[in-house]
């Protein structure tokens, strides 16, 4: 790929070994995917933050990589960590785990990376704008950025997003190019979607069916809310590796080569496969992290009542602070629920925290709880989840 003189010099080590390593990484990826050149990115969002997922190899890498003084040169944000960085003791996170997680956070801070840990950076002071190029790693944020915000990002990994945060660059290929952002599959939705869970189930089915292709979703007549689009994209990017979807009414430039139809029966089948029948004692909401609107919905449902089961609501610290000012957080906590920041049910050491199975409204969570934690979950809508916690 073409490199500018300045990029060549970085590659040769003129600005230090860490920057050279970051550049080698992006150039190797760029060459493998026939990128023409680098493009400047406005922000980077880095995955691989929880000690549970990156373990000792990740921790050792970050220790070494952060030790030579390289710092982020663009806005850099993190995916959820393995615990609430303030309230981990109260929530039963083992001390040895917490020490490792805090060590990881130090290495990120040393690189001037913001320690707002969230999978919805676009609702935590990290908005990506229409036609803006970014390098984000969280798959649900990538699909939301490309499809809803109109920003441009590939599905980055932890190491490439970290390299992009240091260099402010990403190789120009894939979702950074308009000609690649054209739907290939038309998905005809034949049923009415009622709850947030229906959007999550639909996304899961689409991801399984189209794999890594770009679907255009047709037949949803009422414009979905941002919360519904978040649920739709998150499960699509978990069951498949879909980087972007479209909801335009008309096909784009005749690239669609397949039409697939989905009805209530397909959604029921996804639910039957993913959801347990068991009435678990823990309810977890917030995969992806709860928006302010969703926190308000939970607060309204529990206000003045008492939970009979554990109710854990995961969000960013940024949104929790706002939810506190508006009284949503205290309404949930006074009812016996918890508004937990910086982490989620998938990347925290949830078994060690005393959970053996859970109820949630997210197909993405159910998918990863099964594959990464060998844990079963039951799927319900947000309202049903809260009612379950109260009963």
């Amino acid at each position: 790929m073409f490199l500018t003189k300045k990029e060549e010099r970085i590659l040769e080590g003129d600005e230090g070994e860490t920057k050279a390593l970051a550049m080698r990484l992006l150039v190797a990826i760029g060459d493998a995917y026939d990128a023409r050149r680098m493009i400047k990115v406005r922000s980077a969002q880095i995955s691989g933050v929880s000690y549970k997922t990156i373990g000792e190899p990740g921790l050792e890498f970050l220790r070494e990589f952060s030790s030579e003084g390289a710092v982020a040169t663009v806005k850099a944000m993190l995916n959820p960590a393995g615990m609430d960085l303030a309230r981990w003791r109260e929530l039963g996170v083992p001390v040895e785990f917490a020490q490792k997680q805090l060590e990881i956070m130090q290495y990120f801070s040393r690189m001037k990376i913001e320690t707002t840990c969230t999978c919805i950076p676009y609702q935590a002071n990290g908005e990506a704008l229409n036609r803006e190029h970014v390098a984000w790693a969280e798959s649900s944020a990538v699909i939301f950025a490309n499809s809803v915000l109109g920003a441009y990002t590939n599905r980055e990994g932890g190491p490439t997003a970290l390299a992009s945060s240091i260099l402010g660059l990403s190789p120009l290929f894939g979702m950074h190019l308009d000609e690649e952002r054209v739907p290939t599959h038309r998905v005809k939705v034949k049923c009415k979607l009622e709850s947030d869970l229906d959007y999550s189930l639909l996304g899961y089915w689409i991801g399984e069916t189209v794999g890594s292709h770009l679907p255009r979703i047709d037949g949803i007549h009422k414009a979905p809310s941002r919360d519904q689009l978040k649920a739709l994209g998150a499960s699509m990017a978990a069951s498949g590796s879909v980087p972007m979807f479209s909801m335009r009414r008309k096909a784009d430039r005749g690239r669609e080569h397949e039409t697939i139809a989905v009805d209530k029966e397909e959604l029921l089948q996804v639910s039957r496969r993913l959801s347990s029948e068991h009435g678990f004692e823990t309810v977890c909401l917030g995969c992806p992290h709860l928006s302010l609107g969703e926190l308000k919905r939970v607060a309204n449902l529990v206000s003045g009542r008492k939970t009979a089961k554990r109710l854990w609501c995961f969000t960013s610290r940024y949104l929790r602070n706002i939810a506190e000012r508006r009284g949503y957080a205290s309404a949930i906590e006074q009812a016996g629920g918890r508004v937990i920041c910086d982490t989620c049910m998938v990347v925290s050491p949830i078994r060690e925290m005393g959970v053996s199975g859970l109820v949630t409204n997210s197909c993405k969570a159910a998918h990863y709880l099964r594959s990464l934690n060998r844990m079963e979950s039951r799927l319900m809508s947000l309202e049903e989840c809260v009612r379950h916690a109260l009963s």
């Binding site: 990826i29 493998a32 373990g55 190899p57 890498f61 790693a137 190491p159 490439t160």
Partner: protein, 139 residues
């Protein structure tokens, strides 16, 4: 009796030279959860290489899969002296590329014949990461 030699031409992805005994996986490999970063032993339950070590060998498999944390596992292998000498893929992807750059492991893909079929576990393999040439001495 002369040993049979083969030469294949592929694409350089990560430069460098690596020589060793071949170890083949016919299936895609997830380093995250699949390989112990401290020993180089394949730990994925039910994997055809479960219990075998990739340390010092030329590791040949179709492609990477799974979490991008796999790149850190490949880096961990290097830190613990358990890295493979080189990696050859049918078609590589960013997890393996990232890991090989961080760990300085030569990486070649898109060979002119299928390496998973043409090479057998135990063959002697020389990988020229710079030119993309892979030389095999059959055993």
């Amino acid at each position: 009796m002369h040993s049979l030699r083969l030469e294949m031409k592929g694409r350089r992805v990560v430069a460098g030279q690596g020589v060793g005994e071949a170890i083949i996986s016919k299936r895609a490999v997830s380093f995250f959860g699949g390989v112990d970063p401290t020993t180089g032993i394949v730990v994925e339950v039910g994997h055809e290489l479960e219990g075998h070590s990739i340390q010092g060998k030329v590791f040949i498999f179709p492609r990477g899969k799974g979490s991008t944390v796999g790149s850190y596992v490949i880096y961990g292998l290097r830190k613990h002296g358990a890295a493979p000498a080189a990696i050859v893929n049918i078609e590589t992807e960013p997890i393996i590329i990232g890991g090989c750059v961080l760990a300085r492991i030569p990486l070649v893909d898109r060979l002119d014949s299928n390496p998973v079929e043409a090479i057998r576990t135990g063959d002697w393999v020389e990988v020229e990461g710079n030119s993309g040439i892979v030389r095999v001495t059959k055993r």
